[in-house]
Subunit: 336 residues, 2 copies
DNA sequence: CTGAAAGCGCTTACAG
DNA sequence: CTGAAAGCGCTTACAG
């Protein structure tokens, strides 16, 4: 039953600062939110009072009164082995610098938790919700009641519930097929998760490949997300093929890295005896030996586009476009 | 100037639900926060009203009134290449499941931003602040005014400002030195960041090694955090040594992985010609070829201990202990 | 440029 | 088990 004893001096509030500075609470509030509209001499006194009292504004009260919480919710499936880490990092850093905090919600890969997390975010009156998850019909209905900005990222659905910042997964698959073909490879294996966007890239790849060649694409499924640990099983399966593939297109750079390690262990030269392509352009892609040919997604740019849209939404301006396509780039390196 | 037009039907609030259910707002509030104290028949009506109106409680208002925000702030230096990803993931998942959201704040490796982020968290009235950062004297003064629980993790300072959940970095270094020696290695190289906890592990290692051997430890500095990309330079420096080290102790598993790749590329067998030790027991440690000998930190357990402390703090019970030592474990695998 | 006052949407003693 | 009412700490038209 022991409760932590606290110093009896309660933390100062706006009234205390106002009293000390000899102004009204309204003026202190204005100083806090819009310093320019306060007289310079008044500002000096308020600033001093705040400093002396170590005043920290209660942003729950502020948010309630202004209906702007200075919080943004970000929904991702997982944190570990995530393709989104660079995007999240850039979003958080930039928003933090502007005084907005990020609520991180983990949805897992199964459906269901996404809606609960959206509710949790709405309950906190966040200014925006940024989600990597595809949105179901029921969830769309919920989002209609969300007064903030809903941003779907890493994808470009035809009719996003809010706005979208992403790229075309089908197009990536398509371009990868052409790239591989033009490099002279003729027996591709595709290692891919079977759901969501990985599926879209797979579809694009298979379609694209069929335009060039009659050789079927050898497909190997892994669970999502593609990771280093999948490599052993995948490589074993590759070796079992009667006609050995000459290139493996992977769902992530870490899986590609794993395949290279397995190939080395088996005495296969990459890319001469087996070429490898990754996805995401993680830092290992350029640091691995051999360096890994991959698809670059500019996660930081996605973050910047999102933040710009959030800022303009908060200041009452609707984003110019419904969808922002940040594109992608195939980076040819040593592994393929 | 175009602002998004919103449906005129404002979102329902507690009064609306109360009116619909034919009870007072107090009763709805009780139902929401403590369903058991409401009569079963009343509960049925309230539940129905909430469901029909798709009511989402405003937790900013709730937090202001109750001074419990159901938010916890987590401060880490970076998201990418972070040793903390498993800890954060477990914390977020568990807290989310209990209706608490996590505010993620990035502090960078330089000082200064930590205090700003603590202020930002305090302003949002978070129930707890969880930080991986060492705390300066001024920041400690600020924390005195924080009514929530302050938890320092991944370390065990003698006098934490709040509570601490972590382990001894010096002890890890010490035990690693003994482990290496007992395995028969005699010319260790230590690759480590020079600041913070990496520095503590380094000190423990060097001290521990001196108890066994007169051979000095070859030290190579990298910037924080240790990562795969450092391997090329580090390995080159290793090869330049007149007396080649027989084991490399790394600051992370991904750096260890990089050293193995470099060794392979140079035709050196791991562990026969060069042994490698990692840190953290990331999933690659067990998936790499050879598998990587490393130090396991149970990040998920740290998260569970933190969450338990937060829960008890919120229910008014002081945590039993000031410090929780979750320990560590050296896992011997193939690489050393 | 500044102040008095109403209001944001909840929670919680207090009384019954 | 329930209700009336005060209060949480801000913001913001409105008036000057």
């Amino acid at each position: 039953m022991a409760t932590m004893v606290r110093p009896s001096t309660r933390n100062p509030k706006l009234d205390d600062v106002a009293a000390r500075a000899g102004v009204s609470t309204a003026t202190v509030s204005r100083f806090l939110n819009n310093p320019d509209i306060v007289a310079a001499s008044t500002a000096v006194r308020i600033r001093a009072a705040i400093e002396e009292m170590q005043y920290v504004p209660n942003l729950l009260a502020g948010g309630l009164a202004s209906s702007r919480s200075k919080m943004v919710a970000v929904l991702i499936p997982h944190l570990v082995d995530s393709l989104f880490d660079r995007t999240i990092e850039t979003m958080v850093e930039e928003l933090n610098a502007g005084g907005t905090m990020v609520m991180l919600a983990l949805t897992g890969t199964a459906a269901g938790r996404t809606e609960a997390m959206i509710r949790a975010a709405m309950g906190r009156q966040v200014d925006a919700i940024v989600s990597t998850a595809p949105i179901s019909a029921e969830t769309t209905a919920l989002i209609q009641h969300f007064p903030g900005l809903f941003v779907q990222i890493w994808d470009l659905p035809a009719e996003p519930p809010g706005i979208a910042v992403g790229f075309s997964h089908v197009e990536i698959g398509h371009n990868l097929a052409r790239f591989i073909y033009e490099r002279g490879y003729r027996r591709p294996a595709l290692v891919s998760a079977e759901l969501g966007r990985a599926r879209l890239r797979r579809d694009g790849f298979v379609q694209g490949w069929e335009a060039h060649s009659d050789t079927p694409v050898k497909e190997i499924a892994v669970d999502s997300p593609s990771r280093f640990g999948h490599a052993r099983r995948v490589f074993a399966e590759l070796r079992r093929q009667p006609e050995r593939p000459d290139v493996v297109v992977c769902g992530s750079d870490s899986l590609a890295q794993g395949i290279i390690v397995e190939a080395n262990a088996a005495g296969l030269k990459v890319p001469d005896q087996l070429a490898v392509v990754g996805f995401g352009n993680a830092s290992v892609a350029s640091d691995m030996r051999p360096t890994i040919t991959t698809v670059e997604i500019d996660g930081a740019q996605i973050a910047r586009e999102v933040n710009a849209a959030v800022r303009s939404h908060v200041s009452g301006v609707a984003p110019k476009q419904r969808s922002v396509n940040v594109g992608f780039r195939i980076i040819a390196r040593e592994s393929a």
